[in-house]
């Protein structure tokens, strides 16, 4: 009795109130988004807004259940829970029911449950448990193991396929970063993304030439004018040979000829580098060759692995393609409804774009349209403010932990919310490509609401018991 009082007293009520506020705001926006003139009451159980109320009540029950559990449960059973959900993800591929082309759902009576929403907290727990067990710095081996923990559910979800959920799992790398992953991993990742986007916007050839120029400048700065000149001569000769062979014998494209030239030049450099122990030059060369090969791979991946509609979505985000009545329809309608909200919005239930149901998926992935249209810039900023508040609060809570386990889990929760928050709102206003993921606590749907609630409350429970020993 005393202990549970203790828990309630230690629970982070600021977070709980933020959570409740977001759920209620989400519910109101769902009401506006799918408003039906024949069923006006927000409590009408035949409509999505009525159903969402049931989901919210169930979420509160779930939250209470999580709060009354023992702290140690989550620590000791982390791996068991992880294994259980991995199993469910395998199972859903076999007996799941297919909705919108993805085998991502278990049908339970009239409801459908999406295991990938719940696998998130399980992955967070497992990752935290693993990091907690490592008493030394994170080396390559630990990095690979941690990555494997994240990648296992990702691969299974990719098979469904549900690319939106796949993207969100990359949020766990924030945990690894906080726990000491090399900053270079992030820099490489950012460079990779930048190269990818640049190659899409400018084409492969300018980016390949750009890489050569950057490498030449780097060489000039680190090794001086003479070495650069030598390297350039070798490169020019190799380029000549590569052009002759590539163009006349092998019928290669320009980018492949450049790759061939760099590779040939590398064979010559290798001797110099080896003989004269030129470490800087070796690194620059490795980056150049790596960059070129990467360029070639992503080009292939973009055109061969991504589906045409996914390519179009990325192109639309980059402003390279206009398709307002095809793939760009959602985004265009979304921009119109948010943009038309203006400073103060049109008012609750007054959104005309909403009334005409121009935006598909408006109660789920595009719920922010309703916020933007009816509540305007003020309302949108308030919602963003609430998320920032929640995120900073979660960070603060994570930082006050004494164990790596709880801190790592807390950052996992933080990362997932950050990812969902930024990608979801970002896609409705065109700063991210259209990726179908929900806005936590706002979007219609039981699975995501319950998944996020459990995710959050496990952390609240662990935080409330932060003075207890986990063992």
């Amino acid at each position: 009795m005393e202990k549970s009082n203790n828990i309630l007293a230690r629970l982070d009520w600021v977070t709980v109130i933020l959570w409740l506020a977001m759920m209620i705001m989400g519910w109101m926006n769902i009401h506006a988004a799918v408003y039906n003139e024949q069923h006006t009451s927000i409590f009408d159980m035949s409509q999505r807004y009525g159903k969402q109320l049931i989901f919210i009540i169930a979420a509160i029950v779930l939250a209470v259940m999580v709060v009354v559990t023992d702290n140690k449960l989550w620590f000791f059973f982390a791996w068991f829970i992880y294994g259980f959900f991995i199993l469910l993800l395998v199972l859903v591929l076999v007996i799941g029911k297919e909705i919108n082309g993805a085998r991502a759902w278990f049908g339970v009576g009239a409801f459908s449950i999406q295991p990938s929403e719940f696998a998130k907290f399980a992955t967070g727990l497992a990752l935290a448990s693993y990091l907690n067990s490592k008493r030394q710095l994170l080396g390559t081996r630990e990095m690979i193991a941690a990555t494997a923990i994240i990648i296992a559910p990702v691969l299974l979800i990719a098979l469904q396929p549900d690319m939106g959920s796949v993207v969100t799992y990359f949020a766990f790398f924030i945990v690894l970063y906080r726990e000491g992953m090399s900053i270079w991993v992030f820099i490489t990742a950012i460079l990779a993304v930048a190269l990818f986007l640049l190659s899409l916007i400018l084409g492969n050839l300018p980016v390949a030439i750009g890489l050569l120029v950057v490498a030449a400048i780097a060489l000039l700065v680190t090794s001086g004018y003479l070495v650069t000149l030598k390297a350039a001569v070798v490169m020019a000769l190799a380029g000549g040979v590569a052009f002759l062979a590539g163009h006349y014998l092998l019928d290669l494209g320009t980018v492949l000829i450049i790759v061939l030239a760099v590779f040939l030049a590398g064979v010559v450099y290798a001797w110099f580098i080896y003989r004269q122990r030129m470490v800087n030059q070796a690194i620059i060369y490795a980056f150049l060759l790596g960059g070129l090969l990467y360029l070639f791979t992503v080009d292939y991946a973009f055109h061969e692995i991504l589906k045409p509609h996914q390519q179009t979505r990325i192109n639309i985000m980059l402003g390279m393609e206009d398709d307002p009545f095809g793939e760009g329809y959602n985004l265009n309608q979304s921009l119109i409804s948010i943009g038309s909200g203006g400073f103060a919005g049109k008012g609750y239930l007054n959104g005309t774009q909403t009334k005409f149901k121009f935006v598909p998926e408006q109660s789920t992935d595009f719920i922010f349209c309703t916020v933007g249209e009816e509540w305007g810039f003020i309302g949108s900023t308030v919602v963003i403010g609430l998320f920032v508040w929640l995120l900073l609060r979660l960070m603060m809570m994570a930082e006050r932990q004494r164990t790596t386990f709880v801190r790592a889990y807390g950052y996992g929760v933080f990362g997932l919310f950050l990812m969902h928050f930024f990608v979801n709102i970002g896609m409705t206003i065109g700063v991210m490509p259209v990726i179908g993921i929900p806005l936590p606590f706002f979007s219609y749907g039981g699975s995501s609401l319950w998944g996020f609630t459990i995710l959050l409350f496990i952390f609240l429970r662990l935080d409330a018991g932060r003075t207890e020993y986990l063992g």
Binding site: D322, F377, F387, M395, F422
Partner: protein
Amino acid sequence: MKDRFANRKYFIMALVLLAALILIARLFYIQIVDKTYRVSAANNALRPVTQYPARGLIYDRNGKLMVYNQAAYDLLVIPVQTSAFDTTRFNEILGITMDDFKVRMKVAVSYSRRAPSVFMKMISSETYAMLQEELYRFPGFYVQARTLRKYTRPVAAHLLGYVGEVDNKLIAKDRYYRSGDYIGVSGIEKSYEEQLRGRKGVNIFLVDVHNNIKGSYAEGRYDTVAIPGTNLWSTIDITLQEYGERLMQNKTGSIVAIEPSTGEILTFVSSPTYDPSLLVGRVRSENFTTLQADTVKPLFDRALMASYPPGSTFKIMNGLIGLQENVIKPASLFSCSNGYHAGSLTVGCHSHSSPLNLPQAVAQSCNAWFCNAFRNILENPAYGSVQDAFDKWREYLVAFGFGNKMGIDLPNELSGFIPARSYYDRYYGKDRWKALTVISLAIGQGEIGATPLQMANMATVIANRGSFYIPHVVKKIGDDGTPSPLYTQKYITGISPGNFDPVIEGMEGAVNGGPGSTARGARLDSIIICGKTGTAQNPHGKDHSIFVAFAPKDDPKIAIAVYVENAGFGSTFAAPIASLMIEKYLTADIKRKYLEDHVLNTVIKPGGKEQ
């Protein structure tokens, strides 16, 4: 473990703030700075109005217009944009009942609440004028211009085909089509759909709540221009076609005429036929039901889809194959004593002089002669067995286009039937059948079936002395176009040109020869016609009358096959009809009025009663 990375939290915090800043800055821009979205949205709705291009016109081979377009209007509705309005007045204008209104509205809603769908198809110009004036009172409704097919003459219905609305199955499969779009359903309209349809365009308008068009959305940036359909030049001679249909009136059957040097189809008659304008516009579905229920099957394209036994016309094939296989000679003599007798088997024949050589046998259509020839073909010692010789025999027929679809540019072609060796193996046991078992093939009876198109192609091959182009009905795609490359490739049948001479001599004799010749009724004074009659037994009634011919003998301009169902001997109807067609095509003038009148005035009821 000491937390060496605690400082990283500042970077992560910066990340959160940066994310929020990006979102707020972007929101600030689209909600406050950029006014265009507010203009697009403030009580405005987008309305995509499809611009339907005019469907391509169809000309005949001489540039005479056959099919063109006429304006019509569709009334469309976007259910979510409707609001309460005076339905009584609305129904009054359209001339529909309230129940009708409800049904139509329900159909529209079930298609899509957000996308436009057709509320009422092809309203008249008067209704359109009335509706246009009051349209502002009916939000969510608007009118879209369409075109309907019009025909210069009520002919060539089967060939031209008709245009209908796309069904939902196709919409799901092909992204080009939307509910309410038209598509070619049969004939040229179907096989050249992609060329004829052109490309739809779309104008996106901003519409206010009063159903008034406020202007183009985004200055027309997303509008696309409709591209009109490509015109087609058919190979058909519309005058000849019309004449052929007149000759075939009140008779069942088919005429196919081909220009031998190109494979271009000159006439493509299937009788009974119907007026193609019956299947246009709002009357289409009603008329279609009526035509479909008609017992004489006017919708059935006999030229392409009816498989008849070729009858005696097929003797030509056996003669040619026998010559090519070197088992008979033009001078080979076979006697005939009122038929062919082998053991207990008898194939009867009419009485004529005996013995005959090949040209005489063709001219007088002697059954016994061709039974002997056919037996020689199958019992050719050059092959190991009757069955191997049979395979070779079939190979020639396939080369002529029998037994397979010819590949004409029209849908639903029938392949006809030439039995394969395995077919008889199944009946009689493997290799346990002999030449005599299948002897009826010698005279074009038995298991074989050929379409009138295939028969006309046979006449073409003979006229060309061994080669042909795949018969086709479109000679130019676009006003300066060419036919599909499929139809410019020459096919060789494997019979040497020299072997055609005695057969052609026989065909000349059949029409122009002395007593005993079977087709003297087809004779023309000015032009040498070469032809062969046929009479196909048929289990459903009187024999079918068949005639294949080409003319003139030297430098043939037309090859023709005529089938008249239940009309008896080939010489009685098919031959005169073919002869008149040839006369019409080559001289443009009919001198034998009596013959024409006789054919025009004869009514042959299905089953075979002449009246």
